[in-house]
């Protein structure tokens, strides 16, 4: 049994606004084992990116962590001072962002940006830094001549690869990825996913991968967490979630994607729109859109119930858990 390197407990993130706080991440629990690939899926505005930045301690006002802990390698990162955190950043965990076009500094060459990261953590010689830069760039299949390039001179796929290369400079234990493929076309997406998975197998880092595209991660992630309205709706092994989704929302998500190998069927979307987190619905957050809603759902908030290996936030499964009242 591998030991967890990241444990998120009861994490809450609020956006502080003049008209009251908006809770974007609501009591989220997550565990990531060493070397594991965890995917977090959900539609826009479900709080998945906020959760990610909260884990990485990269929130900026008006968002702030209002409760809970993020235990990474034995430290509660929520409690660490900025300078203590700075020492862990990039060495122990790194971040890959959605759009490399915006996440790479347009004024600096790729090499200069790699160098900044390495120079911030320990004193490597200029030559060692150059060698390491070339090495990680080759790792993601980009020629080392592009070290001298500026971000705008690279193609979208190369930029994204360069950013992943930057994230691997110190071979951290955890790489946090926020939709790293969503700015790419499907062909480039696929090849980048294969690359990420291969690097992960080779180097052994854990990945938290946020995406809105469930089918994209289906082949790569070991576990899947489905987020809805700032909460975890269902967390399960990827295979079991695809085979037998428990939460009505997961069922809806899967029905919204075509299957290549399975029988032909009519695709259905989920009617309605995600909840307004400033005024979340009473009871279950998915209840206004839920095809299986019961009268009780509008009144009582479901807890997170375990069903076999999976966790699911739905009153349908409460019966399976008589010993665990909410």
């Amino acid at each position: 049994m591998p030991s967890p390197i990241l444990e998120v407990r009861d994490l809450c993130v609020d956006y502080v606004t003049n008209s009251g706080d908006v809770r974007a991440v609501d009591h989220v629990d997550l565990t990531v084992e060493a070397g594991e690939f965890l995917a977090i899926v959900g539609e826009s505005g479900c709080g998945k990116s906020t959760l990610l930045f909260a884990i990485a301690q990269l929130l900026s006002p008006p968002a702030e962590i209002s409760g809970g802990s993020v235990i990474f390698k034995g430290n509660d990162m929520v409690q660490l001072s900025p300078s203590e955190l700075r020492h862990m950043r990039w060495r122990d965990y790194s971040v890959v962002m959605q759009s490399a076009m915006n996440a790479l500094n347009p004024m600096k060459s790729i090499e200069a940006q790699f160098k900044d990261a390495m120079a911030a953590h320990g004193n490597m010689s200029a030559e060692a830094m150059r060698n390491r830069s070339a090495e990680v760039l080759k790792l993601v299949g980009v020629d080392a001549v592009h070290l001298r390039s500026y971000p705008h001179q690279l193609s979208g796929g190369m930029r994204q690869r360069a950013m992943i290369a930057m994230a691997l400079l110190f071979t951290p234990d955890l790489v946090i990825m926020d939709e790293p493929t969503s700015a790419l076309d499907v062909v480039a997406q696929r090849s980048l996913m294969i690359q990420i998975k291969e690097l992960q197998d080779r180097l052994g880092f854990a990945v938290i991968f946020v995406t809105h595209d469930m089918s994209l991660v289906s082949h790569y992630s070991a576990r899947l967490a489905v987020m809805y309205g700032g909460q975890i709706a269902e967390a399960a092994r990827t295979a079991s979630l695809f085979e037998k989704p428990l939460h009505p929302y997961s069922v809806g998500l899967l029905d919204a994607f075509p299957s290549i190998h399975g029988p032909r069927r009519v695709l259905t979307g989920i009617p309605g729109s995600p909840p307004d987190l400033a005024r979340p619905p009473a009871g279950c957050r998915f209840q206004p859109r839920c095809p299986q809603a019961m009268p009780e759902c509008a009144v009582r908030q479901p807890g997170l119930y375990s069903v076999g290996d999976s966790m699911v936030r739905c009153l349908l499964y409460e019966a399976a858990q008589p010993g665990r009242p909410e």
């Binding site: 020492h87 990039w90 962002m97 915006n102 500094n105 347009p106 004024m107 900044d116 911030a120 001179q153």
Partner: protein, 323 residues
Amino acid sequence: MRFVVRRMGLFFLTLWAALTINFLIPRLMPGNEATAMLSHFKGINPSALHALEVEFGVNNDQNLLVSYVQYLGNCLTGQFGLDSARVPVMTVILRGLPWTLGLVGVTTVIAFSIGTLLGIVSAWRRGGALDSLLSPLLFILTTFPVFFIALLLLFIFGVVLGWFPLSSNYSVGETPSLSVAFVLDVIGHAILPGVTLVVTAAGGWIYTMRNNMVSTLSEDYVRMARAKGLSPWRIMLDYSARNAILPNLTGFAMQLGFILGGSILVEYTFSYPGLGYLFFTGTTNHDLPLQEALFLFYTLAVLLCVLVADFATAWLDPRTRDA
């Protein structure tokens, strides 16, 4: 390299256009240097007028094209004729130039530096004391007319308190030299006009820099810099401020170009004998050759500074290099 050639080409084209306009406008206007000078008098003796015209080198019979070629040649060799006191314009300008460069040049650089620095810190500590008190205060000062501030300072520190001299660039009776006493005297004379110029200009730079910086601070690459664990100084200066300052560079260069124009109001209020003061007296004296030459210098200075700014931007911003 292609960029340099193209940019230089554009520079010379604009300069040529400016020279030509500067040549044509006075000649399209009725009268000339001599009639302008004698305009106050009635019943001019034609031979007196002619004598003046000869002295100023006005030749009404000359072909316009020939005059134009002559004019271009004179511009190249720095011969701009005589002013109303029959002193070569070039000599007059060279006399005023160091004072304007010293006063307006130094204060422009100081105002830009202070403004940029305060703008950076304001944005970095958004909502802090500096951002909510000092910066707005300085910005309000920029809306005051410059002569108002000048007169206010002159009244308080010159007249009432008597700490600083009321006018001119150095005390009567001093001989220009590099002695400590003389340098101190010059600085003493420059402080009030200098403070006026800095106080009225810095606020604008603070605001633009602060706003540019606030938008770069919300860029993904700044968040990325935080994620990489870079030191706050590095994030503030190397990742945010460096990218935020670019749009201000061109504005600063234009401002540097305007230095030569001096600050007419400030130089006039403090009777500071720089180019601005010169321009003012030249205008009131109907001193056409002097005005023409000054216009030419202003244009040249602005064009040169914008050229340098473009090269600086290209050097700092890789995206413009390939364009």
